[in-house]
Amino acid sequence: MALVGANGSGKSTLAKCLNALLVPTAGRVLVDGLDTRDPHAVWQVRQRVGMVFQNPDNQLVATVVEEDVAFGPENLGLPPAEIRRRVEEALRIVGMWDYRRHAPHLLSGGQKQRVAIAGMLAMRPSCLILDEATAMLDPQGRAEVLQTVDRLTREEGITVVHITHAMEEAAVARRIVVLAGGRVALQGTPAEVFDQPEVLRRLRLTLPPVAVLGRQLRAAGLPLRGSVTTVDQLVDALTALAAARRS
């Protein structure tokens, strides 16, 4: 799920409510049935919901990658063999096993964020929240993190909440939730959300260029099939159309 909204719309506050870094002043948040207001449940909630933040340089604590990933499980008091197993599994999932003996500060931004994600995975969470975790990365770093996210949701069955200002990243989520003024203003599939450009503009959001192009082509009379909010989708729809014209 992608969580989008203007600066100050409440995205980060909501994210912090999801893993009990904040307790809501009214209402409640349940994580697998655990109430975040229950002080006894706090550690279980945080083990289930991991967070990765914006700045890759502020999140790694150890001097060696594998020690950083081991930090969480060690604090759970797990036996050393189990810690080693979890560290290896987590680093393999994010594709950083070969870097296990490297110093985190010498890694690229995307690699650092993948190590931060591995540190969360070693806690065996059911949900990961990326709070603008791609904002400071170069295109390669972004792609690495997004591929990792895709793999986590597809192969590991982990829920990912991706907070982002990059609408082209929101476009690849299964669902987009738009916050405005501390409320859910809009939600749906990317196709449904991007079908309301006026509402989005009022909420200080924009469509990704692909979605703008897709809408304009349809408005000009091209019968494009399905959702056309990502590059892959639009290329497929245009190729299908060209093939249909030829036959």
């Binding site: 203007a6 170069d138 000009a220 590059v231």
Partner: protein, 283 residues
Amino acid sequence: MIEVRDVHHVYLRDSPLEATALRGITLTIGDGERVGLIGPTGSGKSTLVQTLNALIRPTDGTVLVDGEDIFAPQADRRRVRQKVALLFQYAEQQLFEESVARDVAFGPRNLGLPEGEVQARVREALLAVGLDPDRFGPRSPFTLSGGEMRRVALAGVLAMSPRVLILDEPTAGLDPQGKAEFLRLILRLHAERRLTIILISHSMDEIAQVVERVVVLDEGRVVMDGPTRQIFARAEELERLHLGIPQTAQILHRLRARGLPVRTDLLSVEETRAELLRVLRPA
């Protein structure tokens, strides 16, 4: 005009942490040009722009601003920094004064300008970034939104009346509308003041929208330099450098790879739309 001649820079030379950032950069940037500087993390972009306004003295090579060697012993580097202004990443983190007006006034006041001139520059700079001086001037910068704070930081830079404006990831962290507004503001400043614009960004869509020339850095070297259109037409090379191309260009390249006879040197949504309709419109 800025001329960079065979500039090398090594951080912490002769120490265990020695790191080479620039390996022989030669580059000329003319007055009023809009240049995008792209490259993977660690390619030397931020180091290079800091040599342009004498914040970093390169370990080798020369930088000339309007013909003057800015690292010569007699060079007035304060004047260089006034002429070549740099807006850092997350510049709003550097706001510190109790009011917006005082923060914007900080630079011109340090130039030793008379108070009347300082006030005139503050008003003009705030107007230039779209903030009403009477409304925003007295407010604490810390009560503003992220986008407004960033514009205050830009106003502080503009109040120095620079000729060259270097922007290091100026829209990072802004919401989509805030980004769009900031980019329009940069284009307006360029049009109205003929400022030279040097833009560092990781967003190829942003680069395509703002600049007319792209310089690509990799491992401290200039590996490509040319008109924006021509650079983004070289998709395979950019991909090898782990850089992307704008979304519209991605679509055209992929369609061409699948055999559709489309041009691939187009950048804006409007151009792409027209090209796709030309190729796919029913007969």
